[in-house]
Symmetry: C2
Subunit: 352 residues, 2 copies
């Protein structure tokens, strides 16, 4: 059964569609947008990854630094060693691990959900010592008229989950880091359940445990506890890492979560989790095969090949319009049916 209907217009946004934030920067990648509806328009909160125009034989990357001129310094290395041989996202210089790009968040607006106009300036950039390597991969969850933006805050202290809140997309309240490092992929549930807010998130580690999906609860969205894991990698298409996508979707059968999974070759696919409506720490069902794998050219080739990664969608009746980053390079869209997704989970296991 075909479950994913990619936009024929894909990719809908490319780096060339976005004006760099400074004249000395180039937009290397567009990635992983949050999505929301505001005043009847569809908004995307894009991750824009920039770097200085690169010179042969060097790696250079921007780092935010309040004490530097213009608030930014450039780390440039002729002898950089990649921290992970095949990972274009990292390098090591003088013992410090750096990102190869600096990300900020940029708004794009659309009336039809397909043609987006990108704002000329960043709406949010990294702020303070916990965000000197940038801010990434925003999820947007509207609760009681407030848009809650959960995002990855990166610095030399690691990557954790920050929270920024806005009602109007013009003024923003920075609420600090809500999950300490190493953590990312934080998706809030859009309503309280039995008196608690809930969030999915993704701690990681290299020795014991690893990049599994955890769930936590909160009285106020600012402070979190009762941490426990609900899903861990399984052999095959989700052997190495799994992490939540955008906010879980309320359905009569449970909370439906589209999550990403990484296999041993580094291929990013998408799967489904179904969580109990009244106790989302309970997994009712889980995909045994991916609902979406990289297949189109714009998904199989780019800054990171073979990546589909979603953290934003808009729901209208049975239709989920899902936005996703492809190959860590461009922004794409696809439509899915909630009924079809639920049907794909019939008779599937709820194993770990």
């Amino acid at each position: 059964m075909r479950m994913i209907f990619r936009f024929p217009e894909n990719p809908i946004l490319r780096p060339a569609d976005v004006k760099p934030s400074r004249p000395d920067m180039e937009v290397a990648c567009l990635l992983n947008p949050g999505a929301f509806v505001h005043n009847g328009r569809i908004g995307l909160l894009l991750r824009v990854a920039e770097r200085p125009v690169q010179e042969d034989g060097f790696i250079s990357t921007p780092v935010l630094d309040p004490e530097a001129p213009d608030g930014m310094r450039i780390v440039k290395s002729s002898t950089a060693e990649r921290g992970q041989a095949s990972d274009a996202r990292l390098f090591v210089h003088e013992g410090q691990c750096y990102l190869t790009t600096l990300s900020h968040l940029r708004l794009a607006w659309s009336d039809d959900g397909v043609r987006f106009e990108v704002e000329p300036e960043p709406v949010l950039i990294g702020n303070g010592k916990l965000e000197s390597f940038g801010i990434e991969d925003a999820r947007v969850c509207c609760i009681d008229g407030v848009y809650n933006i959960t995002y990855t805050a990166v610095s030399d202290a690691g990557y954790g989950v920050g929270l920024i809140r806005t009602k109007d997309w013009k003024t923003f309240d920075r609420e600090g880091m809500i999950f300490p490092p190493p953590n990312k992929d934080c998706a809030l549930f859009p309503e309280k359940i039995n008196g608690h807010y809930y969030a999915l998130h993704r701690p990681t580690h290299n020795d014991i445990g690893g990049p599994w999906i955890w769930i936590s609860r909160s009285p106020d969205l600012l402070h979190w506890g009762a941490h426990q894991w609900i899903a861990r990698p399984r052999p095959g298409w989700e052997a190495m890492k799994i992490g939540a996508g955008a906010e879980p979707i309320r359905t009569p059968r449970g909370w439906l979560e589209i999550y990403h999974a990484v296999d041993a070759k580094g291929e990013y696919s998408l799967g489904l989790l179904l969580l109990d409506l009244n106790d989302p720490t309970k997994v009712l069902a889980r995909s045994t095969s991916p609902i979406m794998r990289p297949a189109e050219d714009y998904e199989t080739a780019g800054f990171m090949q073979n990546v589909v990664f979603t953290n934003g969608h808009v729901v209208d009746g049975d239709t989920v319009t899902m936005y996703y980053g492809a190959a860590d390079s461009v922004i794409c869209g696809a439509r899915l049916s909630i009924a079809q997704m639920l049907e794909s989970l019939n008779a599937l296991d709820s194993g770990e």
Copy 2:
């Protein structure tokens, strides 16, 4: 200036002083006690690390498993390869990293603070899927008549910080995991500061960031947010890791924290942090050299050589009676003067 007065009776507790929790187990190590005063007596909450009696050529370790007979199964490997060559605490078997021992918590009581009587049974053992590899390194912080026990909860999902509360040391409320993996070394502040509870803790990671000391705040001790780091490793005696000890001590000049530090050779020493009384996210001073290094035989030789590690103390006027684990093998005590510790921080830097 001599600042540390070790008990002449050291070590005050050895593995032979503790009855194993099961006849088929041996107590491999005694480690890192929490300390408190209850009904006029001094209590220690010991970490007791057990394993099956080892056979030549094999490594075997217990894992808690509710589905196994007696709630425990033995993982035994004839071909185990250590995940980290020099680390006696870990091994890898069939792709899974295990601890070489299983820890529980045991009470010991004393009238004079030196001679302790160890209870014959564990008071707390690992419970549930987040504690299948045991519970370790308890800090005890009494707030408003309730003893708050923060401890390391270990399982195949990693190690995080759990919270258990008691008023009488007979009945206990398990409050779940308050800091998700990878995290340990959580020390609560003993009172609210400007309306917030505060905790020091220690996330870690192998790529960006690492084992630094962080601080967070909470409305209720159960849910935590506003995470930020306050101290990171510095070259020399604290080059590799740092982590909080027991609860910070209120002094007129600030919150005094005895912390542990690890150098490149794996030697664990102790240093001091002084934090602002009204805003403990501000570091006022920090030791430039250790206040205590492994020196006695019982500190330089054992399960892990060259370790002094403290997470428990009792304060009486100017005197801190500090309990500590030595060489990950035995329990020791020492006395320190708050005035002397503060004096040692005069004219020292407050750098990162």
